[in-house]
Subunit: 369 residues, 2 copies
């Protein structure tokens, strides 16, 4: 079976724009075409759209607007990890021999209906995901003797890093005091602990090994894929202080890539809320249980951008359907040594961690140059 | 690469029920499990949901309700051919080695938002697809000297055939006069020329060649896949009297399967409206341009169920996201000689034609026993 490589990408700035979803899709796709001088519309065998938007037939709409007449065209939805699900679907079309070149485009508006999972009645009075983030935070703090002051380092670090990301929603940095004194949403959650929904698009081009050559001398290979859905409702989680689906997905991804966590030079992890970053680092295996904040403090103190170089979801913003693709683009740039001020030195192997709905499902990708 | 087989299925009755989408998904999946004594929940690597419903995370929801914890789980949407797109996606996950066993479940409610493509402004005053069906009908009648009386044979035939389909929405047969005298919707379209949106679910289980053996002695193999999207808006069609995307998809599917149209013993074609059946038969290659009604009349007169044995969309009903899967189940039953009164004798090779939005995109599958 063919290896699958990432050969081009395009990103919009993440914003609070009121653009139509079709415009957002088109905008990042135009940027991808601008960055791909050897790419012809006729090369593209499949167009996949990743979104939680309620508009239908968006892959056909994007195709018509872009002048593409693909074989395969459909939308993919799985809440916040729609983006990596679409990338894995593209991988499988290529690997199965049904496509040589696939365009994957994720887009969302700030008012995405994917922010609320109506089906999960366990959310109680809170409609927004702060219902599960609060319980995760309370459980994590209690189990590992972590304080609100500790967790506040996550947004401080990630907003600092997003200052070097020209497409980030955040254009400000925050002090520890500013995070701690930001609006209290629940007993365990402050405003600056939350990633913010926004409008944004991210397009990425995948190609089979032989097709890669036409577009770039430095394809980035998808060497590991791991996915797991443990439930849909968050109360079915076996624990609220770690991410079981992420642990399983990481194990599978490393098995497939024949790599281990110690090989990873740079990673995007799904910091939907402050507590998610240390929990993810522990569940992925970067550090032991309860030690995630120690690692984050060390990285922050030494200005090491290894984790969430583009600022994570907290710094970059969280356009649901685009997030997993934007994460993958960041790791691609890192491995191509084109991440400018965000560059992690000599990054050869990267990891993407993208999850949904209180980590009831997770995708982990391993990328290599 | 592994061959991919269909090893089990479950269908709900198509109805005007007000059931929640989650209930519809669960109902057909339960029927699939009831029909699969050797299937364990743990066997299932991926759960794909095909729907136009606006609810999110339905693959995870269905998984939790069914006791499945899959690796891969997401929804697939492409209006009326969502179902076959999801089947092709499942095929690719298996063929790429990312999954061995995949559950694909299509479901829709009678009030599906997929009935109207808001983006296509060319629909004019008619929101419902009757806008393009009217123009198709006018163009087809004019070009090939076909009359309304000719076209009325399609619903007469298909309602007759659906009488033998226990899951069909239609429980009545109609005379030519009843079709011709049914409510006039436009100059070229009567009520009985239209398939009706309804509530329904269709679940199907795909497996790799080695996994097939566990579930059935008579797997049905997917030997040909063809897909094409030419546009999203219907006015971009190069003609209104044939289906270009269907022609291209059929050519690809036959190329992959190394079969030709003359090998096909039984077929489901996408008769969203009366005119679609002769047009599809011509574009797929069953007969020459303008000769589709001659073939349909011959089949009708001789009670030959070769085309749309379950009654097509007009007779069986059209729950958008379930339709392509229900079509595939029908051909599976035909090739397994388990289609009861609908059985086409000695059917060895079958074809599925599933399209969206005025045939701006089409999927064609070739199945073999």
């Amino acid at each position: 079976m063919s290896k699958v490589g990432i050969v081009s990408y395009g990103l919009t700035k993440f914003s609070k724009d009121d653009s139509k979803i079709e415009s957002v899709l088109l905008q990042s796709t135009k940027k991808l075409f601008d960055a791909s001088p050897n790419l012809s519309r006729n090369d593209i065998d499949a167009v996949l759209v990743s979104t939680n938007n309620n508009s239908k037939y968006l892959s056909a709409v994007l195709s018509e607007m872009s002048g593409i007449e693909p074989k395969i065209a459909h939308s993919v939805e799985s809440l916040c990890n729609s983006g990596t699900n679409a990338i894995v679907s593209a991988y499988s079309y290529i690997s199965a021999g049904l496509a040589d070149v696939v365009l994957v485009c994720g887009a969302e508006r700030y008012d995405s209906p994917g922010q609320i999972l109506e089906w999960d009645n366990s959310r109680g009075e809170f409609k927004h995901p702060i219902f599960w983030a609060s319980i995760f935070t309370k459980a994590y703090k209690r189990e590992f003797s972590i304080t609100d002051d500790d967790l506040a380092i996550v947004p401080v670090k990630n907003h600092k890093q997003s200052k070097n990301n020209p497409n980030a929603l955040s254009e400000k940095t925050y002090s520890l005091d500013e995070v701690i004194n930001s609006k209290k949403l629940t007993d365990d959650l402050r405003l600056h602990d939350c990633s913010r929904p926004c409008t944004g698009g991210a397009s990425i081009l995948l190609a089979s090994e032989h097709a890669c050559k036409k577009y770039t001398d430095t394809p980035i290979w998808i060497s590991g894929i791991g996915q797991k859905t443990t439930s849909a409702g968050f109360t079915k989680n076996i624990t609220f202080s770690s991410m079981e689906s992420s642990r399983i997905a990481a194990t599978s991804a490393f098995q497939m890539s024949k790599r281990s966590i110690s090989d990873v030079d740079v990673a995007e992890v799904h910091d939907a809320f402050s507590v998610c970053e240390p929990m993810a680092l522990e569940s992925l295996g970067f550090t032991d249980k309860g030690k995630g904040m120690d690692l984050i403090k060390e990285l922050h103190t030494t200005d090491n951008f290894k984790i969430n170089p583009r600022g994570g979801l907290i710094g970059a913003g969280h356009p649901l359907g685009a997030t997993g693709i934007a994460q993958t683009i960041e790791i691609t740039q890192q491995l191509q040594s084109s991440a400018d001020k965000r560059q992690v030195s000599n990054a050869k192997i990267g990891l993407i961690h993208n999850m949904s709905a209180a980590s009831t499902s997770s995708t982990v990708l391993v990328l290599e140059r």
